[in-house]
């Protein structure tokens, strides 16, 4: 990034640059290479599936386990399916997937762009007249923006499966009964809220990773610091944004 473009509110300025870059060129004048978008999209989708699966199955299982222990006391074991379905679709799938992507993809964005800064690769782009936001940031943000909703849906499914395994083991619920109950509990409101969060989280994780990468100090330590900052800020931001969503949803009666 050009040093003179770093304003006092540079995080806000950077966000504005990304939004302008996305909107002003949409999509015919986007200046990044299709290969870059495809590479990033593949990396944050197919290659992220194993870890997203493991984490979300376990989160669904943990929710079911905690719910079962308490609900069985009241003879309401079947409501474990409701608990898991609502908690996963409304909160946990989006949050947990965003945290995983912050640690995995957001960190990778920060490290890659910080290394490019150190190696003068970003300068080489700017000398050609290519803006780093247009050429490097936008494909990453768009990739995560597009992939996160898909990962969210997948995370919901794996979370429900995790809950189903525990419910079947602890409560002798048949998988069919569990899934029937889950489908009844799931509403478009819960799913829509979770989906909206996942899109916001995806864009935020990508922008945060790119921001810290492009503003990193130009040495090896700078790469490490940028990566750490990207992960920490992204995770905190996920929680803060989720709280804002909760307040707004409550105010709207959703």
């Amino acid at each position: 990034m050009h040093p003179t473009s770093l304003l006092p509110l540079r995080q806000v300025a950077f966000l504005g640059q990304v939004v302008l870059s996305a909107l002003s060129g949409f999509p015919a004048r986007w200046r990044f290479r299709g290969q870059d978008f495809a590479r990033v999209a593949a990396d944050c989708s197919a290659r992220a599936v194993p870890i997203v699966t493991v984490v979300n199955v376990l989160v669904g299982a943990i929710l079911a386990f905690v719910g079962a222990v308490q609900l069985v006391k009241f003879g309401a074991g079947i409501y474990v399916a409701d608990l898991v379905a609502i908690a996963v679709s409304r909160e946990m799938a989006a949050i947990i997937t965003a945290v995983v992507m912050a640690g995995r993809t957001g960190a990778a964005f920060a490290a890659e762009l910080a290394t490019m800064q150190t190696n003068e690769e970003v300068d080489a782009l700017e000398v050609l007249g290519l803006n780093a936001v247009d050429f490097l940031v936008l494909p990453r943000v768009l990739a995560l923006f597009a992939i996160m909703p898909l990962l969210f849906v997948y995370a919901c499914v794996t979370g429900l499966l995790g809950g189903m395994v525990v419910a079947a083991g602890m409560l002798d619920l048949s998988p069919a009964a569990y899934m029937e109950r889950s489908v009844d509990a799931l509403t478009w409101t819960h799913l829509g809220l979770g989906l909206a969060k996942s899109i916001v989280f995806g864009a935020m994780v990508a922008i945060t990773g790119c921001y810290f990468g492009l503003t990193a100090r130009r040495d090896a330590a700078g790469v490490g610091v940028a990566t750490t900052q990207a992960v920490v800020v992204s995770i905190v931001a996920v929680i803060v944004i989720d709280a804002v969503f909760a307040v707004c949803a409550d105010a709207l009666g959703i």
């Binding site: 870059d36 590479r39 190696n119 003068e120 690769e121 300068d123 080489a124 000398v127 050609l128 007249g129």
Partner: protein
């Protein structure tokens, strides 16, 4: 069209309150190799950044064919950028692209060649620097010298009339360094391009440069103008002489082993 491609007038470079250089003025004509000399940290690379649009000067003008780069809008700057190529000190090859893609990107942005023509041109310039068979390689798979040559290929691909080379020989062995010098001279002869060279390599400076400027880090100003060979032979400025004569074989300290051998032979010869 004027012979002077680049005209630098009264440039002042600062990082915040810290003065780096001031009063930097020079012109670079077509077909010349112009040296920017000076000790480490005197502001050579910062000067280069001002010339290529990465660092805005505190004062002064950078004129390309009479057009002031820093007074121009972004569209005009983009047109001016098409007029120069740049080899960065680290080569700065884009690590996610193959050599072919690295060389093709400037062609895509600054020429009207179609994809097949771009690929043909990229193979041609990679051939000039001896890397034709490495077109599909990624930068991480190349040695330091090969990266430098690939960076040079990328800089010259669009046939820009002005090339900036930031320490092209740094980190290369003497043979590779000599080969790169030959490549730079043949490039100048073949294309008629003007070349601005930032370097510490005295043999290169003396051998290939036609003109130059010497920046002093203590006074924050240029202290000499002229061809490195002329400055080497005629300059009486102490900073210039210290820089240009540091490689003088007669004044270079002998290696420890040679000193020991000389001392022991003197002892041996003494009694006889």
């Amino acid at each position: 069209m004027a012979a002077t491609l680049l005209d630098v007038q009264g440039l002042e470079i600062r990082y915040g309150d810290r003065l780096v250089q001031r009063g930097v003025s020079f012109g670079v004509e077509r077909g010349t190799i112009f040296a920017v000399m000076g000790g480490s940290g005197c502001g050579k690379s910062s000067l280069l950044k001002c010339l290529i649009g990465l660092l805005e000067p505190a004062a002064g003008h950078v004129l390309y064919d009479g057009v002031d780069y820093w007074a121009s809008d972004e569209a005009a700057r983009n047109r001016l950028r098409a007029g120069f190529g740049m080899l960065f000190q680290s080569a700065a090859l884009w690590s996610s692209m193959s050599l072919m893609e690295n060389v093709c990107l400037p062609l895509e942005l600054h020429t009207r060649l179609d994809a097949a023509q771009r690929e043909h041109r990229a193979r041609e310039v990679l051939g000039w620097v001896g890397l034709a068979e490495f077109a599909a390689y990624m930068p991480a798979d190349l040695s330091g010298g090969m990266k430098k040559r690939a960076g040079l290929a990328r800089a010259i691909a669009a046939e820009a009339p002005l090339l900036y080379l930031d320490e092209p020989s740094a980190g290369l062995d003497p043979v590779s360094s000599l080969r790169l010098d030959e490549l730079i001279v043949s490039l100048r002869d073949r294309t008629g391009a003007a070349i601005v060279l930032v370097s510490h390599e005295l043999p290169s400076l003396l051998a290939i440069c036609d003109d130059g400027i010497f920046l002093d880090g203590d006074s924050h100003a240029p202290v000499a103008r002229g061809a490195p060979r002329t400055l080497y032979e005629e300059s009486s400025h102490p900073v210039v002489r210290a820089f240009l004569h540091r490689e003088e074989p007669l004044t270079r300290p002998a290696p420890a082993r040679a000193r020991t051998e000389r001392a022991s032979s003197a002892v041996d010869e003494g009694p006889s």
